[in-house]
Protein backbone atom coordinates (compact mmCIF):
# COMPACT_ATOMS: atom_id res chain seq x y z
CA UNK A 1 0.00 0.00 0.00
CA UNK A 2 2.40 2.62 1.12
CA UNK A 3 5.52 2.88 -0.89
CA UNK A 4 7.95 2.66 1.92
CA UNK A 5 6.76 -0.59 3.40
CA UNK A 6 8.99 -2.78 1.26
CA UNK A 7 11.97 -0.71 2.10
CA UNK A 8 11.12 -1.05 5.71
CA UNK A 9 10.99 -4.79 5.76
CA UNK A 10 14.20 -5.12 3.87
CA UNK A 11 16.16 -2.73 5.94
CA UNK A 12 18.70 -4.62 7.98
CA UNK A 13 17.69 -4.79 11.55
CA UNK A 14 20.92 -3.56 12.94
CA UNK A 15 19.68 -0.24 14.14
CA UNK A 16 17.01 -1.86 16.21
CA UNK A 17 19.54 -3.37 18.42
CA UNK A 18 19.80 -1.70 21.68
CA UNK A 19 22.65 -3.82 22.90
CA UNK A 20 25.38 -2.43 20.78
CA UNK A 21 28.32 -4.13 22.43
CA UNK A 22 28.43 -7.82 22.82
CA UNK A 23 30.19 -8.86 26.01
CA UNK A 24 33.01 -11.35 25.67
CA UNK A 25 32.35 -14.69 27.40
CA UNK A 26 34.95 -14.04 30.05
CA UNK A 27 33.52 -10.67 30.85
CA UNK A 28 30.06 -12.14 30.94
CA UNK A 29 31.26 -14.77 33.38
CA UNK A 30 32.91 -12.21 35.55
CA UNK A 31 29.78 -10.12 35.51
CA UNK A 32 27.67 -13.06 36.50
CA UNK A 33 30.18 -14.08 39.07
CA UNK A 34 30.33 -10.73 40.75
CA UNK A 35 26.59 -10.50 40.74
CA UNK A 36 26.32 -13.68 42.75
CA UNK A 37 27.90 -13.45 46.15
CA UNK A 38 27.55 -17.14 46.77
CA UNK A 39 29.05 -17.90 43.37
CA UNK A 40 32.09 -15.80 44.20
CA UNK A 41 32.44 -17.53 47.52
CA UNK A 42 32.10 -20.92 45.88
CA UNK A 43 34.69 -20.16 43.27
CA UNK A 44 37.13 -18.87 45.85
CA UNK A 45 36.69 -21.96 47.98
CA UNK A 46 37.03 -24.38 45.11
CA UNK A 47 40.04 -22.58 43.68
CA UNK A 48 41.68 -22.57 47.08
CA UNK A 49 41.10 -26.27 47.53
CA UNK A 50 42.40 -27.03 44.04
CA UNK A 51 45.42 -24.86 44.66
CA UNK A 52 46.06 -26.61 47.94
CA UNK A 53 45.81 -29.98 46.28
CA UNK A 54 48.17 -29.03 43.48
CA UNK A 55 50.81 -27.46 45.63
CA UNK A 56 50.46 -29.63 48.70
CA UNK A 57 54.18 -30.44 48.92
CA UNK A 58 55.01 -26.75 48.98
CA UNK A 59 52.30 -25.76 51.40
CA UNK A 60 52.49 -28.49 53.98
CA UNK A 61 54.82 -27.71 56.88
CA UNK A 62 55.55 -31.39 57.54
CA UNK A 63 55.62 -34.70 55.82
CA UNK A 64 52.03 -35.89 56.08
CA UNK A 65 53.29 -39.27 57.12
CA UNK A 66 55.91 -38.22 59.62
CA UNK A 67 54.99 -40.02 62.80
CA UNK A 68 56.10 -39.15 66.22
CA UNK A 69 54.79 -41.52 68.86
CA UNK A 70 56.04 -39.23 71.56
CA UNK A 71 53.72 -36.37 70.74
CA UNK A 72 50.40 -37.83 69.82
CA UNK A 73 47.03 -36.11 70.00
CA UNK A 74 48.51 -32.68 70.57
CA UNK A 75 45.67 -30.15 70.49
CA UNK A 76 45.58 -27.23 68.06
CA UNK A 77 47.77 -24.29 68.92
CA UNK A 78 45.07 -22.12 70.44
CA UNK A 79 44.10 -24.71 72.98
CA UNK A 80 45.90 -25.48 76.19
CA UNK A 81 48.73 -27.85 75.48
CA UNK A 82 48.93 -26.89 71.83
CA UNK A 83 52.00 -25.43 70.23
CA UNK A 84 52.66 -23.29 67.22
CA UNK A 85 54.69 -26.13 65.79
CA UNK A 86 51.46 -27.90 64.97
CA UNK A 87 48.87 -25.30 64.14
CA UNK A 88 46.00 -27.76 63.99
CA UNK A 89 47.53 -30.22 66.41
CA UNK A 90 48.63 -33.78 65.75
CA UNK A 91 46.81 -37.04 65.29
CA UNK A 92 46.90 -40.34 67.09
CA UNK A 93 50.29 -41.15 65.61
CA UNK A 94 51.75 -37.72 66.16
CA UNK A 95 51.39 -36.57 62.57
CA UNK A 96 50.78 -32.95 61.80
CA UNK A 97 47.07 -32.39 61.18
CA UNK A 98 47.53 -29.36 58.96
CA UNK A 99 49.89 -31.18 56.64
CA UNK A 100 47.57 -34.13 56.48
CA UNK A 101 44.58 -31.99 55.65
CA UNK A 102 46.56 -30.27 52.93
CA UNK A 103 47.58 -33.58 51.43
CA UNK A 104 44.16 -35.09 52.01
CA UNK A 105 42.63 -32.60 49.61
CA UNK A 106 44.37 -34.33 46.72
CA UNK A 107 42.71 -37.67 47.08
CA UNK A 108 39.36 -36.34 48.21
CA UNK A 109 39.10 -34.12 45.18
CA UNK A 110 40.35 -36.84 42.90
CA UNK A 111 37.79 -39.32 44.16
CA UNK A 112 35.00 -36.79 44.21
CA UNK A 113 35.60 -35.45 40.75
CA UNK A 114 36.71 -38.53 38.87
CA UNK A 115 34.00 -40.81 40.15
CA UNK A 116 31.43 -38.23 39.18
CA UNK A 117 33.01 -38.05 35.75
CA UNK A 118 32.72 -41.81 35.43
CA UNK A 119 29.14 -41.85 36.66
CA UNK A 120 28.28 -38.83 34.55
CA UNK A 121 29.62 -40.27 31.34
CA UNK A 122 27.81 -43.57 31.77
CA UNK A 123 24.66 -41.82 32.89
CA UNK A 124 24.72 -39.26 30.10
CA UNK A 125 25.33 -41.77 27.35
CA UNK A 126 22.74 -44.27 28.52
CA UNK A 127 20.24 -41.62 29.54
CA UNK A 128 20.42 -39.84 26.21
CA UNK A 129 20.20 -43.07 24.26
CA UNK A 130 17.28 -44.32 26.31
CA UNK A 131 15.40 -41.07 26.08
CA UNK A 132 16.15 -40.43 22.44
CA UNK A 133 15.63 -43.85 20.95
CA UNK A 134 12.98 -45.05 23.38
CA UNK A 135 11.54 -48.51 22.76
CA UNK A 136 13.64 -51.46 23.85
CA UNK A 137 16.77 -49.47 24.57
CA UNK A 138 14.76 -47.36 26.94
CA UNK A 139 13.20 -50.42 28.46
CA UNK A 140 16.50 -52.13 29.11
CA UNK A 141 18.17 -49.04 30.49
CA UNK A 142 15.27 -48.12 32.70
CA UNK A 143 14.81 -51.59 34.09
CA UNK A 144 18.50 -51.63 34.90
CA UNK A 145 18.12 -48.27 36.55
CA UNK A 146 15.20 -49.63 38.57
CA UNK A 147 17.28 -52.57 39.62
CA UNK A 148 20.15 -50.41 40.72
CA UNK A 149 17.77 -48.23 42.65
CA UNK A 150 16.31 -51.21 44.41
CA UNK A 151 19.67 -52.46 45.63
CA UNK A 152 21.38 -50.38 48.27
CA UNK A 153 24.50 -48.81 46.81
CA UNK A 154 26.55 -49.76 49.79
CA UNK A 155 26.02 -53.41 49.01
CA UNK A 156 27.42 -53.15 45.51
CA UNK A 157 30.32 -51.05 46.69
CA UNK A 158 31.06 -53.47 49.45
CA UNK A 159 31.05 -56.53 47.28
CA UNK A 160 33.06 -55.00 44.49
CA UNK A 161 35.66 -53.58 46.84
CA UNK A 162 35.70 -56.94 48.56
CA UNK A 163 36.53 -58.66 45.30
CA UNK A 164 38.97 -56.25 43.78
CA UNK A 165 40.43 -54.76 46.89
CA UNK A 166 40.26 -51.16 47.80
CA UNK A 167 42.69 -49.09 45.81
CA UNK A 168 42.13 -45.64 44.51
CA UNK A 169 41.23 -46.74 41.01
CA UNK A 170 38.66 -49.35 42.01
CA UNK A 171 37.27 -46.93 44.53
CA UNK A 172 36.74 -44.30 41.86
CA UNK A 173 35.31 -46.79 39.41
CA UNK A 174 32.97 -48.42 41.84
CA UNK A 175 31.67 -45.12 43.16
CA UNK A 176 31.13 -44.07 39.57
CA UNK A 177 29.44 -47.25 38.50
CA UNK A 178 27.02 -47.26 41.41
CA UNK A 179 26.04 -43.65 40.88
CA UNK A 180 25.34 -43.54 37.18
CA UNK A 181 21.66 -44.25 37.64
CA UNK A 182 20.79 -40.84 39.02
CA UNK A 183 22.23 -39.23 35.94
CA UNK A 184 20.59 -41.68 33.61
CA UNK A 185 17.19 -41.05 35.16
CA UNK A 186 17.56 -37.32 35.12
CA UNK A 187 18.98 -37.13 31.63
CA UNK A 188 16.41 -39.48 30.18
CA UNK A 189 13.60 -37.44 31.66
CA UNK A 190 14.95 -34.27 30.16
CA UNK A 191 15.61 -35.88 26.81
CA UNK A 192 12.04 -37.12 26.64
CA UNK A 193 10.81 -33.57 26.78
CA UNK A 194 13.64 -32.11 24.73
CA UNK A 195 13.08 -34.43 21.84
CA UNK A 196 9.54 -33.14 21.51
CA UNK A 197 10.82 -29.59 21.31
CA UNK A 198 10.62 -27.89 17.97
CA UNK A 199 14.32 -27.27 17.62
CA UNK A 200 14.98 -30.98 17.68
CA UNK A 201 12.24 -31.51 15.16
CA UNK A 202 13.72 -28.73 13.11
CA UNK A 203 17.09 -30.42 13.15
CA UNK A 204 15.49 -33.65 12.03
CA UNK A 205 13.59 -31.95 9.30
CA UNK A 206 16.82 -30.49 8.03
CA UNK A 207 18.24 -33.96 7.73
CA UNK A 208 20.66 -33.82 10.64
CA UNK A 209 21.63 -37.31 11.70
CA UNK A 210 20.80 -38.75 15.08
CA UNK A 211 24.31 -38.56 16.44
CA UNK A 212 24.62 -34.89 15.69
CA UNK A 213 21.21 -34.21 17.15
CA UNK A 214 22.18 -35.94 20.34
CA UNK A 215 25.55 -34.26 20.56
CA UNK A 216 24.68 -30.77 19.47
CA UNK A 217 21.05 -30.30 20.35
CA UNK A 218 20.31 -32.54 23.27
CA UNK A 219 23.54 -32.80 25.19
CA UNK A 220 24.13 -29.07 25.65
CA UNK A 221 20.58 -28.67 26.85
CA UNK A 222 20.72 -31.33 29.51
CA UNK A 223 24.02 -30.03 30.66
CA UNK A 224 22.83 -27.42 33.09
CA UNK A 225 20.76 -29.76 35.20
CA UNK A 226 23.57 -32.24 34.85
CA UNK A 227 25.98 -29.73 36.31
CA UNK A 228 23.75 -29.08 39.27
CA UNK A 229 23.36 -32.74 40.09
CA UNK A 230 26.99 -33.54 39.53
CA UNK A 231 28.33 -30.81 41.75
CA UNK A 232 26.06 -32.07 44.47
CA UNK A 233 27.28 -35.50 43.68
CA UNK A 234 30.95 -34.57 44.03
CA UNK A 235 29.99 -33.55 47.50
CA UNK A 236 28.14 -36.74 48.32
CA UNK A 237 30.92 -38.86 46.91
CA UNK A 238 33.48 -37.26 49.19
CA UNK A 239 31.15 -38.12 52.04
CA UNK A 240 30.48 -41.66 50.85
CA UNK A 241 34.21 -42.18 50.76
CA UNK A 242 34.28 -41.19 54.40
CA UNK A 243 31.62 -43.77 55.20
CA UNK A 244 33.57 -46.39 53.32
CA UNK A 245 36.58 -45.57 55.42
CA UNK A 246 34.33 -46.13 58.40
CA UNK A 247 33.85 -49.67 57.13
CA UNK A 248 37.55 -49.98 56.43
CA UNK A 249 37.00 -49.91 52.70
CA UNK A 250 38.18 -46.45 51.89
CA UNK A 251 41.63 -45.43 50.76
CA UNK A 252 44.60 -47.26 52.22
CA UNK A 253 47.45 -45.60 54.04
CA UNK A 254 49.77 -43.90 53.41
CA UNK A 255 47.24 -42.39 51.02
CA UNK A 256 45.34 -39.74 52.91
CA UNK A 257 41.85 -38.57 52.24
CA UNK A 258 39.68 -36.39 54.38
CA UNK A 259 37.22 -39.22 54.63
CA UNK A 260 39.86 -41.51 55.96
CA UNK A 261 40.99 -38.93 58.48
CA UNK A 262 37.46 -38.26 59.54
CA UNK A 263 36.63 -41.89 60.05
CA UNK A 264 39.80 -42.79 61.89
CA UNK A 265 39.35 -39.72 64.02
CA UNK A 266 35.91 -40.77 65.13
CA UNK A 267 37.34 -42.87 67.96
CA UNK A 268 38.75 -39.69 69.37
CA UNK A 269 35.72 -37.48 68.97
CA UNK A 270 35.03 -37.31 72.66
CA UNK A 271 38.62 -36.70 73.65
CA UNK A 272 40.72 -35.32 70.80
CA UNK A 273 37.93 -33.78 68.80
CA UNK A 274 40.23 -32.05 66.31
CA UNK A 275 41.18 -35.33 64.70
CA UNK A 276 37.79 -35.74 63.09
CA UNK A 277 36.51 -32.22 63.17
CA UNK A 278 39.11 -30.52 60.99
CA UNK A 279 38.80 -32.94 58.09
CA UNK A 280 35.04 -32.74 58.60
CA UNK A 281 35.19 -28.98 58.32
CA UNK A 282 37.37 -29.26 55.26
CA UNK A 283 34.74 -31.46 53.66
CA UNK A 284 31.88 -29.20 54.64
CA UNK A 285 33.53 -26.08 53.35
CA UNK A 286 34.55 -27.73 50.12
CA UNK A 287 31.10 -29.16 49.60
CA UNK A 288 29.55 -25.79 50.25
CA UNK A 289 31.93 -24.24 47.76
CA UNK A 290 31.17 -26.85 45.14
CA UNK A 291 27.43 -26.46 45.56
CA UNK A 292 27.60 -22.70 45.29
CA UNK A 293 29.87 -22.98 42.31
CA UNK A 294 27.48 -25.45 40.72
CA UNK A 295 24.54 -23.09 41.05
CA UNK A 296 26.58 -20.38 39.51
CA UNK A 297 27.94 -22.58 36.75
CA UNK A 298 24.44 -23.43 35.72
CA UNK A 299 23.81 -19.75 35.22
CA UNK A 300 27.02 -19.24 33.36
CA UNK A 301 26.51 -22.13 31.02
CA UNK A 302 23.09 -20.92 30.09
CA UNK A 303 23.44 -18.24 27.45
CA UNK A 304 20.01 -16.93 28.39
CA UNK A 305 21.11 -15.88 31.83
CA UNK A 306 22.48 -12.63 30.57
CA UNK A 307 19.56 -10.78 31.92
CA UNK A 308 16.90 -10.76 29.26
CA UNK A 309 13.88 -12.76 30.19
CA UNK A 310 12.40 -14.85 27.46
Amino acid sequence: MSANTTAQTEAPLEDEFEVSHKPKPLRRWMKLLLRSKTGTLGLIIVLTVCFTALFAPLLAPYEPDGMNPASINVPPMWLEGGSSAHVLGTDSLGRDMLSRIIYGSQVSLLIGVLSVVVAGIIGLVLGIMAGYYGKWIDNIVMRTVDSFLAVPNILLILVVLGIFGSNLLTLILVLGVTNWVIYARLVRGEVLSLKERDFVRAAKSIGTNDRTIMMKHILPNVFSSFIVISTLSVATTIIIEASLSFLGLGVQPPTISWGYMLSTGRDYLATSWWLATFPGLAITITVLGIIFLGDWLRDVLDPRSQGRRS
Partner: protein, 341 residues
Amino acid sequence: MSTNKNNSKQPILEIKGLKKHFELSSGWFSKEQKSVKAVDGIDLEVYPGETLGIVGESGCGKSTTGNTILRLLEATEGQILFEGQDLASLSKKEMREKRKDIQMIFQDPFSSLNPRMKVFDIIAEPLRSHKVATGDDLRKRVYELMETVGISKSFDQRFPHEFSGGQRQRIGIARALALKPKLIVCDEPVSALDVSIQSQVLNLLSKLQKEFNLTYIFIAHGLPAIKHISDRVAVMYLGKVVELADKEQLFSRPMHPYTEGLLSSVPVPDPHVRDTKERIILTGDLPSPADPPSGCRFHTRCPYADELCKTKEPDLVEERDGHHVMCHYPLKEGRGVLIEN
Protein backbone atom coordinates in the same frame (compact mmCIF):
# COMPACT_ATOMS: atom_id res chain seq x y z
CA MET B 1 -8.89 -19.03 -12.77
CA SER B 2 -6.24 -20.35 -10.46
CA THR B 3 -7.96 -23.71 -10.78
CA ASN B 4 -7.08 -23.78 -14.42
CA LYS B 5 -3.55 -22.87 -13.64
CA ASN B 6 -3.39 -25.81 -11.27
CA ASN B 7 -4.87 -28.31 -13.63
CA SER B 8 -2.34 -27.54 -16.23
CA LYS B 9 0.54 -28.55 -13.96
CA GLN B 10 1.72 -31.66 -12.20
CA PRO B 11 1.22 -31.35 -8.44
CA ILE B 12 4.49 -31.10 -6.52
CA LEU B 13 2.95 -32.86 -3.54
CA GLU B 14 0.07 -35.27 -3.42
CA ILE B 15 -1.45 -36.57 -0.23
CA LYS B 16 -3.63 -39.60 -0.65
CA GLY B 17 -5.81 -41.02 2.11
CA LEU B 18 -3.39 -39.90 4.80
CA LYS B 19 -4.12 -41.17 8.28
CA LYS B 20 -2.20 -40.68 11.46
CA HIS B 21 -3.44 -42.33 14.59
CA PHE B 22 -1.70 -42.02 17.94
CA GLU B 23 -1.97 -45.04 20.16
CA LEU B 24 -3.13 -44.02 23.57
CA SER B 25 -2.12 -46.61 26.13
CA SER B 26 0.95 -48.47 25.03
CA GLY B 27 0.40 -51.01 27.76
CA TRP B 28 1.51 -54.55 27.29
CA PHE B 29 -1.63 -56.06 28.56
CA SER B 30 -4.44 -53.77 27.60
CA LYS B 31 -6.67 -55.39 25.08
CA GLU B 32 -8.52 -52.69 23.22
CA GLN B 33 -6.20 -50.13 21.75
CA LYS B 34 -7.62 -46.67 21.98
CA SER B 35 -6.23 -44.22 19.54
CA VAL B 36 -6.40 -40.54 18.75
CA LYS B 37 -7.33 -40.17 15.13
CA ALA B 38 -5.39 -36.96 14.68
CA VAL B 39 -5.51 -37.18 10.91
CA ASP B 40 -8.19 -39.44 9.58
CA GLY B 41 -8.00 -39.73 5.86
CA ILE B 42 -7.21 -36.60 3.94
CA ASP B 43 -6.44 -36.02 0.27
CA LEU B 44 -4.67 -32.89 -0.87
CA GLU B 45 -2.69 -31.75 -3.84
CA VAL B 46 -0.22 -28.91 -3.82
CA TYR B 47 0.94 -27.29 -7.04
CA PRO B 48 4.32 -25.69 -7.62
CA GLY B 49 4.48 -22.04 -6.73
CA GLU B 50 1.19 -21.89 -4.88
CA THR B 51 0.37 -21.48 -1.23
CA LEU B 52 -2.05 -23.93 0.21
CA GLY B 53 -3.51 -22.65 3.44
CA ILE B 54 -4.76 -25.05 6.08
CA VAL B 55 -7.07 -23.66 8.75
CA GLY B 56 -8.95 -25.23 11.56
CA GLU B 57 -9.25 -25.05 15.29
CA SER B 58 -6.65 -26.22 17.72
CA GLY B 59 -6.19 -29.97 17.75
CA CYS B 60 -7.86 -30.67 14.44
CA GLY B 61 -4.70 -32.23 13.04
CA LYS B 62 -3.00 -29.46 11.15
CA SER B 63 0.44 -29.86 12.67
CA THR B 64 0.19 -33.60 12.48
CA THR B 65 -0.42 -33.33 8.77
CA GLY B 66 2.59 -31.07 8.43
CA ASN B 67 4.80 -33.35 10.45
CA THR B 68 3.82 -36.45 8.54
CA ILE B 69 4.62 -34.76 5.25
CA LEU B 70 8.17 -34.28 6.49
CA ARG B 71 8.16 -37.75 7.96
CA LEU B 72 8.82 -36.34 11.38
CA LEU B 73 5.94 -38.63 12.17
CA GLU B 74 5.33 -41.85 10.30
CA ALA B 75 1.93 -42.01 8.66
CA THR B 76 -0.42 -44.75 9.84
CA GLU B 77 -1.93 -45.12 6.43
CA GLY B 78 -1.94 -43.40 3.06
CA GLN B 79 0.63 -42.03 0.71
CA ILE B 80 2.59 -38.84 0.41
CA LEU B 81 3.95 -38.36 -3.09
CA PHE B 82 6.55 -35.71 -3.57
CA GLU B 83 7.16 -35.06 -7.25
CA GLY B 84 5.53 -38.36 -7.88
CA GLN B 85 7.71 -40.32 -5.44
CA ASP B 86 6.28 -41.96 -2.36
CA LEU B 87 8.18 -40.54 0.61
CA ALA B 88 7.25 -43.41 2.86
CA SER B 89 9.11 -45.82 0.61
CA LEU B 90 12.37 -43.96 0.99
CA SER B 91 15.08 -45.30 3.22
CA LYS B 92 16.33 -43.17 6.05
CA LYS B 93 19.27 -42.07 3.95
CA GLU B 94 17.22 -41.28 0.89
CA MET B 95 14.81 -39.36 3.03
CA ARG B 96 17.63 -37.27 4.42
CA GLU B 97 18.56 -36.41 0.86
CA LYS B 98 14.93 -35.56 0.10
CA ARG B 99 14.80 -33.21 3.04
CA LYS B 100 16.78 -30.74 1.01
CA ASP B 101 13.63 -30.19 -1.00
CA ILE B 102 11.08 -30.03 1.78
CA GLN B 103 11.56 -27.79 4.76
CA MET B 104 9.55 -26.59 7.67
CA ILE B 105 9.08 -23.37 9.63
CA PHE B 106 7.77 -23.81 13.11
CA GLN B 107 5.14 -22.04 15.10
CA ASP B 108 7.08 -21.12 18.14
CA PRO B 109 10.16 -19.05 17.42
CA PHE B 110 11.18 -19.51 21.04
CA SER B 111 11.36 -23.24 21.10
CA SER B 112 12.32 -23.96 17.52
CA LEU B 113 15.80 -22.56 17.90
CA ASN B 114 18.28 -24.35 20.09
CA PRO B 115 18.92 -21.88 22.90
CA ARG B 116 22.53 -22.95 23.15
CA MET B 117 23.52 -22.56 19.53
CA LYS B 118 24.68 -19.38 17.91
CA VAL B 119 22.75 -17.93 15.03
CA PHE B 120 25.51 -18.71 12.62
CA ASP B 121 25.53 -22.37 13.58
CA ILE B 122 21.77 -22.62 13.44
CA ILE B 123 21.65 -21.37 9.90
CA ALA B 124 24.75 -23.31 8.92
CA GLU B 125 23.49 -26.57 10.32
CA PRO B 126 21.55 -27.76 7.26
CA LEU B 127 24.47 -26.86 5.03
CA ARG B 128 26.83 -28.78 7.24
CA SER B 129 24.54 -31.74 7.62
CA HIS B 130 24.35 -32.19 3.90
CA LYS B 131 27.95 -31.16 3.38
CA VAL B 132 26.81 -28.57 0.91
CA ALA B 133 29.38 -26.03 1.83
CA THR B 134 32.36 -25.64 4.09
CA GLY B 135 34.80 -23.00 5.17
CA ASP B 136 34.56 -19.64 3.47
CA ASP B 137 31.89 -20.87 1.16
CA LEU B 138 29.77 -21.81 4.11
CA ARG B 139 30.28 -18.45 5.72
CA LYS B 140 29.35 -16.70 2.53
CA ARG B 141 26.19 -18.73 2.17
CA VAL B 142 25.13 -18.12 5.73
CA TYR B 143 25.67 -14.38 5.44
CA GLU B 144 23.71 -14.34 2.21
CA LEU B 145 20.85 -16.08 3.92
CA MET B 146 20.94 -13.69 6.82
CA GLU B 147 20.79 -10.82 4.43
CA THR B 148 17.93 -12.38 2.53
CA VAL B 149 15.77 -12.58 5.62
CA GLY B 150 16.89 -9.18 6.85
CA ILE B 151 19.19 -9.88 9.74
CA SER B 152 22.47 -8.06 9.95
CA LYS B 153 25.57 -10.17 9.52
CA SER B 154 27.03 -8.71 12.65
CA PHE B 155 24.62 -10.73 14.74
CA ASP B 156 25.99 -14.09 13.67
CA GLN B 157 27.59 -14.85 17.02
CA ARG B 158 24.54 -14.13 19.07
CA PHE B 159 22.28 -16.60 20.78
CA PRO B 160 18.59 -16.84 19.93
CA HIS B 161 17.49 -15.34 23.21
CA GLU B 162 19.12 -12.10 22.22
CA PHE B 163 16.58 -11.63 19.46
CA SER B 164 12.97 -10.64 19.43
CA GLY B 165 10.29 -13.06 18.33
CA GLY B 166 10.08 -11.71 14.81
CA GLN B 167 13.81 -11.86 14.37
CA ARG B 168 13.91 -15.39 15.65
CA GLN B 169 11.28 -16.34 13.14
CA ARG B 170 13.48 -14.85 10.44
CA ILE B 171 16.34 -17.03 11.63
CA GLY B 172 14.04 -20.03 11.35
CA ILE B 173 13.13 -18.97 7.85
CA ALA B 174 16.79 -18.58 6.89
CA ARG B 175 17.46 -22.06 8.15
CA ALA B 176 14.58 -23.42 6.11
CA LEU B 177 15.81 -21.63 3.01
CA ALA B 178 19.41 -22.77 3.35
CA LEU B 179 19.04 -25.89 1.24
CA LYS B 180 16.99 -24.15 -1.42
CA PRO B 181 13.91 -26.26 -0.86
CA LYS B 182 11.02 -26.50 -3.25
CA LEU B 183 8.34 -26.88 -0.63
CA ILE B 184 8.12 -25.28 2.77
CA VAL B 185 5.60 -26.32 5.36
CA CYS B 186 4.91 -23.32 7.55
CA ASP B 187 3.31 -24.49 10.77
CA GLU B 188 1.68 -21.37 12.19
CA PRO B 189 4.74 -19.22 11.61
CA VAL B 190 3.12 -16.00 12.80
CA SER B 191 0.72 -17.10 15.53
CA ALA B 192 3.19 -16.45 18.30
CA LEU B 193 4.24 -13.06 17.06
CA ASP B 194 3.17 -9.60 18.02
CA VAL B 195 0.64 -7.83 15.88
CA SER B 196 3.10 -5.40 14.39
CA ILE B 197 5.68 -8.09 13.73
CA GLN B 198 3.25 -10.52 12.11
CA SER B 199 2.95 -8.35 9.09
CA GLN B 200 6.72 -8.09 8.71
CA VAL B 201 7.05 -11.87 8.60
CA LEU B 202 4.05 -12.36 6.31
CA ASN B 203 5.49 -9.84 3.89
CA LEU B 204 8.86 -11.53 4.02
CA LEU B 205 7.34 -14.91 3.26
CA SER B 206 5.48 -13.50 0.25
CA LYS B 207 8.61 -11.83 -1.01
CA LEU B 208 10.67 -14.98 -0.69
CA GLN B 209 8.04 -17.02 -2.45
CA LYS B 210 8.23 -14.79 -5.47
CA GLU B 211 11.99 -14.61 -5.37
CA PHE B 212 12.72 -18.33 -5.09
CA ASN B 213 9.55 -19.71 -6.62
CA LEU B 214 8.65 -21.54 -3.43
CA THR B 215 5.63 -23.63 -2.70
CA TYR B 216 4.10 -23.19 0.72
CA ILE B 217 1.79 -25.18 2.84
CA PHE B 218 0.72 -22.53 5.28
CA ILE B 219 -0.90 -23.73 8.46
CA ALA B 220 -2.69 -21.27 10.69
CA HIS B 221 -5.72 -20.84 12.81
CA GLY B 222 -5.87 -17.13 12.22
CA LEU B 223 -8.21 -16.68 9.29
CA PRO B 224 -7.07 -13.19 8.32
CA ALA B 225 -3.47 -14.30 7.92
CA ILE B 226 -4.48 -17.37 5.92
CA LYS B 227 -6.59 -15.24 3.72
CA HIS B 228 -3.78 -12.86 3.14
CA ILE B 229 -1.17 -15.36 2.08
CA SER B 230 -2.92 -18.37 0.52
CA ASP B 231 -4.02 -19.19 -2.99
CA ARG B 232 -6.15 -22.11 -1.99
CA VAL B 233 -7.45 -22.95 1.44
CA ALA B 234 -8.27 -26.26 3.10
CA VAL B 235 -10.48 -26.18 6.18
CA MET B 236 -9.88 -29.02 8.60
CA TYR B 237 -12.20 -30.30 11.26
CA LEU B 238 -11.37 -33.23 13.52
CA GLY B 239 -8.74 -34.82 11.32
CA LYS B 240 -10.57 -34.33 8.03
CA VAL B 241 -10.55 -31.74 5.32
CA VAL B 242 -14.13 -30.48 5.24
CA GLU B 243 -13.77 -27.82 2.62
CA LEU B 244 -11.18 -27.00 0.01
CA ALA B 245 -11.42 -24.13 -2.41
CA ASP B 246 -9.83 -21.12 -3.94
CA LYS B 247 -9.34 -18.37 -1.43
CA GLU B 248 -11.90 -15.99 -2.96
CA GLN B 249 -14.45 -18.74 -3.25
CA LEU B 250 -13.99 -19.89 0.26
CA PHE B 251 -14.06 -16.51 1.89
CA SER B 252 -16.93 -15.11 -0.12
CA ARG B 253 -19.11 -18.16 -0.55
CA PRO B 254 -18.22 -20.84 1.98
CA MET B 255 -20.15 -24.05 1.47
CA HIS B 256 -19.56 -25.86 4.73
CA PRO B 257 -21.48 -24.70 7.79
CA TYR B 258 -18.31 -24.97 9.83
CA THR B 259 -16.42 -22.64 7.55
CA GLU B 260 -19.31 -20.25 7.68
CA GLY B 261 -19.29 -20.35 11.45
CA LEU B 262 -15.59 -19.78 11.60
CA LEU B 263 -15.75 -16.84 9.28
CA SER B 264 -18.47 -15.18 11.22
CA SER B 265 -16.66 -15.76 14.51
CA VAL B 266 -13.71 -13.67 13.44
CA PRO B 267 -14.02 -10.34 15.16
CA VAL B 268 -13.95 -7.52 12.68
CA PRO B 269 -11.77 -4.58 13.64
CA ASP B 270 -14.45 -2.07 12.82
CA PRO B 271 -16.67 -0.88 15.63
CA HIS B 272 -19.35 0.28 13.22
CA VAL B 273 -20.31 -3.19 12.11
CA ARG B 274 -20.46 -4.71 15.57
CA ASP B 275 -24.13 -4.20 16.11
CA THR B 276 -25.19 -4.80 12.54
CA LYS B 277 -23.08 -7.80 11.69
CA GLU B 278 -24.96 -11.07 11.53
CA ARG B 279 -23.26 -13.79 13.43
CA ILE B 280 -23.47 -17.51 13.54
CA ILE B 281 -21.86 -18.49 16.78
CA LEU B 282 -20.98 -22.14 16.85
CA THR B 283 -22.00 -23.66 20.10
CA GLY B 284 -20.09 -26.27 22.05
CA ASP B 285 -16.51 -27.39 21.89
CA LEU B 286 -14.50 -29.39 19.45
CA PRO B 287 -15.16 -33.07 20.25
CA SER B 288 -12.24 -35.26 21.14
CA PRO B 289 -10.43 -36.89 18.23
CA ALA B 290 -10.16 -40.01 20.36
CA ASP B 291 -13.82 -40.66 19.81
CA PRO B 292 -15.23 -38.50 17.06
CA PRO B 293 -19.00 -38.26 16.66
CA SER B 294 -20.71 -40.70 14.36
CA GLY B 295 -21.89 -39.65 10.95
CA CYS B 296 -20.81 -36.19 9.97
CA ARG B 297 -18.21 -35.14 12.49
CA PHE B 298 -19.57 -31.66 12.63
CA HIS B 299 -23.16 -32.57 13.37
CA THR B 300 -22.83 -31.94 17.12
CA ARG B 301 -22.17 -28.25 16.50
CA CYS B 302 -23.96 -27.74 13.20
CA PRO B 303 -27.00 -25.46 13.22
CA TYR B 304 -28.40 -27.27 10.17
CA ALA B 305 -27.82 -30.88 11.18
CA ASP B 306 -30.55 -33.49 10.83
CA GLU B 307 -30.89 -37.25 11.26
CA LEU B 308 -28.92 -38.05 8.14
CA CYS B 309 -25.96 -36.09 9.40
CA LYS B 310 -25.96 -38.08 12.62
CA THR B 311 -25.70 -41.39 10.89
CA LYS B 312 -24.02 -41.05 7.53
CA GLU B 313 -20.65 -39.51 6.94
CA PRO B 314 -20.55 -37.34 3.84
CA ASP B 315 -17.76 -37.50 1.26
CA LEU B 316 -15.57 -34.70 0.06
CA VAL B 317 -17.14 -33.81 -3.28
CA GLU B 318 -16.38 -31.14 -5.81
CA GLU B 319 -19.52 -29.03 -5.72
CA ARG B 320 -18.24 -26.27 -7.89
CA ASP B 321 -15.19 -25.88 -10.05
CA GLY B 322 -12.32 -26.61 -7.68
CA HIS B 323 -14.52 -26.13 -4.63
CA HIS B 324 -14.68 -29.31 -2.58
CA VAL B 325 -16.88 -29.75 0.43
CA MET B 326 -17.75 -32.55 2.79
CA CYS B 327 -21.36 -31.92 3.70
CA HIS B 328 -24.77 -33.45 3.01
CA TYR B 329 -26.29 -30.03 2.68
CA PRO B 330 -23.64 -27.68 1.33
CA LEU B 331 -24.60 -24.03 1.58
CA LYS B 332 -25.48 -22.60 -1.77
CA GLU B 333 -24.97 -19.00 -0.84
CA GLY B 334 -22.92 -19.15 2.30
CA ARG B 335 -22.32 -15.89 4.04
CA GLY B 336 -18.72 -15.02 3.70
CA VAL B 337 -16.72 -11.96 4.54
CA LEU B 338 -15.54 -10.89 1.13
CA ILE B 339 -18.98 -10.11 -0.20
CA GLU B 340 -18.54 -6.36 -0.15
CA ASN B 341 -15.40 -6.64 -2.20
